[in-house]
Each structure stands twice: as C-alpha cells, then as structure tokens.
C-alpha cells in the first residue's frame, strides 16, 4: 500500500491511498496478475454509514469485510491503514486471543470504532496510538486544520513513532508504504522514494486530488498488487474511489 497525507498552500488537507493486496496468493499466468488481487476488485464498494439518516462516516471497503482500511469522518478526520510486517505479527495476537488474553483489539475493528465514535483528529490520534492491538500497523491520519496529519507506527503493544506534518520545517506531505520511516525500504520494493520524488516535483502550490492521483498512477507506486485508489478530502467528507490496473511492463509488487 501507499498512503499520502498532504497539505496545500492554503492549509487544505488531502489524503489518498493505493490499496495493494494479494502478494503470493496465486499468480494468474494467462493474465499476468495476482489471482486474489483481481478477484478482490469486484468486491470493492464505497460505503456511507448513517445514523438517523445522517452520514457519520464514509469508507472504501471490500464487501464482506466489516473493518475499515480507508475512511473519512466528514469535517473531522481522514484515516487509512497500511500493513506493517513483523515477526511479532498478528498470528501471535490471534494465538493470545485464543488462549484467553483479550485486551487487544482487532485492527479492522479499531479503525471502524475510531471512524464511528471519534469526533476529532486529536481523539482519533489518541485512540489509534494508545489502544493495544493484535497486529502491528501503520495508521495514517489527516485532520481538518493546517498541520493536522501524521503517521502512527504501531507494534502490537506500543506506539513506536508518531510522524507529524511540519510545514515550518518543510514537511508538507507524508508518504507511508509498508516500512518504518527510519529504515530504508526493501531494495526490491521501493515505492516510497518514487512517491516522494513525484510529490516534490508537483510542489505544494500545485497540490490537489488530481495531482495526487498522478503520483498514485506512477509505477511502481502503481503496481500489480494495486486493487484501488482512493482520494479523500476532509471537507464535506469527499471521497473518490477508482479500480486500478497496471499494464505491462509493471512491477509485481
């Protein structure tokens, strides 16, 4: 996955992501694509969660999956989740859960609870940083005020790092793929630097959902695992989701 949260010159926040999934889950030789990646595309749906006929939050989901991977609470915050791989991974969390230790939260249920119940960026940030999890994760959060954007790097038990937007220091965007920001990405899977390079080329004054879509359409940020691209702006809870394809030549991940 690649998630981007960025702020334009007027202080408006944008949040977008490519959802990549299906690595090693079967390769379709005929169509030169990952089998599960292709099968997931017809399952992608845009959802509006309503209470008393009012939309509380919106998300992009796979039908049948009740957790949240990409969502916006209109006027309050935007949220995406990227997978974080670790030896101390979710299988240990599941094992602990089965053995009776149930103080951790399932990742998808936490993001769902945050979108459903948190009413501000600060509240969402605190819950995502402090709740014990069953699996490690990266949470990418955007707010509704200038400077409100961060990447929260989580292990199962603790927050390892919170990386905030810092306009004064020139940090007007954050890019998270599937690697800790203080470590180099795997040399075979460097989507982080191409995305950063494209954003720097765009420049803050030209930032928009359209130019972010350009970044997310550039290989290898767009790759054979990319299922969909979602673009979000917190104002009015604007979301757009597009199914993606990566024609040859294209990186398999």
């Amino acid at each position: 996955c690649t998630s981007i949260v960025a702020e334009d010159k007027t202080g408006k926040l944008y949040h977008a992501r490519n959802l990549d999934f299906g690595l090693f889950l079967g390769w379709d030789i005929k169509n030169s694509s990952w089998t599960i990646t292709q099968l997931l595309k017809p399952l992608v749906v845009a959802l509006a969660f309503q209470r008393n006929n009012k939309t509380i939050f919106k998300s992009t989901n796979f039908a049948g999956y009740i957790g949240m991977l990409s969502g916006v609470r209109p006027g309050a915050f935007t949220l995406t989740m990227n997978e974080r791989f670790s030896i101390d991974g979710g299988y240990l969390g599941i094992l602990e859960w089965i053995l009776g230790r149930r103080d951790g939260m399932w990742m998808g249920f936490l993001t769902r609870a945050v979108l459903e119940n948190s009413t501000s960026y600060e509240e969402a940030k605190e819950k995502l940083a402090k709740t014990r999890l069953l699996a490690p994760a990266y949470f990418i959060l955007g707010g509704n005020k200038p400077g409100q954007g961060c990447v929260i790097t989580r292990s199962r038990a603790a927050t390892l790092d919170i990386w905030d937007l810092d306009i004064k220091q020139g940090t007007w965007f954050l890019v998270e793929t599937n690697y800790d920001r203080w470590k180099p990405p795997l040399f075979l899977d460097n989507r982080r630097d191409p995305a950063k390079q494209c954003l720097n080329q765009i420049k803050q004054e030209n930032l928009s959902l359209a130019t972010i879509y350009d970044v997310l359409s550039t290989k290898p940020v767009l790759n054979k695992l990319t299922v969909y691209t979602t673009l979000m702006a917190v104002d009015g809870g604007h979301t757009e989701t597009y199914l993606r394809e990566c024609p040859e030549p294209c990186c398999p991940w």
Binding site: I36, L43, V45, N52, F85, G89, W106, L134, N190, V215
Partner: protein, 122 residues
C-alpha cells in the same frame, strides 16, 4: 537504486480524471444503516456481492489445498474460525453472522476474511 528499477517510470501527469489502461472503473455506493440491528446492516451489500465473496474464499481454500492436499487444513481452519467468532465483540460478531447468512458463504469463511489482516502481517 531508483535508477536501477526496471519498472520505474517518470512521474505521470494529467492522468485525472481517470481513464486509459490504468483505470478499471468506479465502484458502487451503498448505505449502511447503523440504526438497524447489526445482523441486518450488510444485507443490501451482500445480496449484490455474495457470488464475488464466495469466489474469493474458494480461491483461498484452493490455494491452501494446493499446499496441504486433502483439504484437512482448510476444514480445520474453518471449524476454528467458527469457534473464534463467539469471542468477537458486539456488534462485529452479529454483523459477521448477518453477512454469512445473507451471502450464503460459510461462517468460518466470513470470519477468516475479516481477520485476514492479522494473519498476513508476518
């Protein structure tokens, strides 16, 4: 390292509005009514998407069966998933039961689909 990436291309521009070979379409929108009982919330979505969900789960099972022939592992996982369901918190447990009921997918498959993330973080 970037220069050596054979799949790397120059930064794209003017790709929006989406079209062309990297664009595969838009997605349908549904309303999830949180005022409904959890069991009924996903009925509209799953009425439309049951075939697609079952297809994904069948493919995952086929994959497991290729690694562990005889379908014993897949069957065992399915049984364990049903047991796991009873420990999941409200309202998620009821929503998963509703999805399985509407889609006709097995309960174990729907539980597995919902905890896929935790499994795949290693």
């Amino acid at each position: 390292a970037l220069a050596g990436d054979p799949f790397r291309e120059d930064c794209r521009n003017k790709t929006y509005p989406p079209s062309g070979p990297t664009y595969k379409g838009t997605v349908p929108t549904y309303i999830i009514n949180l005022d409904l009982p959890p069991y009924k919330r996903w009925a509209n979505v799953m009425n439309d998407k049951k075939t697609e969900l079952k297809k994904v789960m069948q493919n995952i099972k086929n994959l497991v069966n290729k690694f562990f022939p005889g379908s014993k592992i897949a069957d065992l996982v399915e049984v364990k998933m049903v047991h796991l369901l009873s420990s999941l918190p409200h309202p998620f447990r009821e929503e998963i039961e509703g999805i399985a009921n509407t889609s006709g997918a097995s309960l174990g498959d729907v539980v597995l689909f919902n905890i896929f993330y935790e499994i795949f973080t290693v």
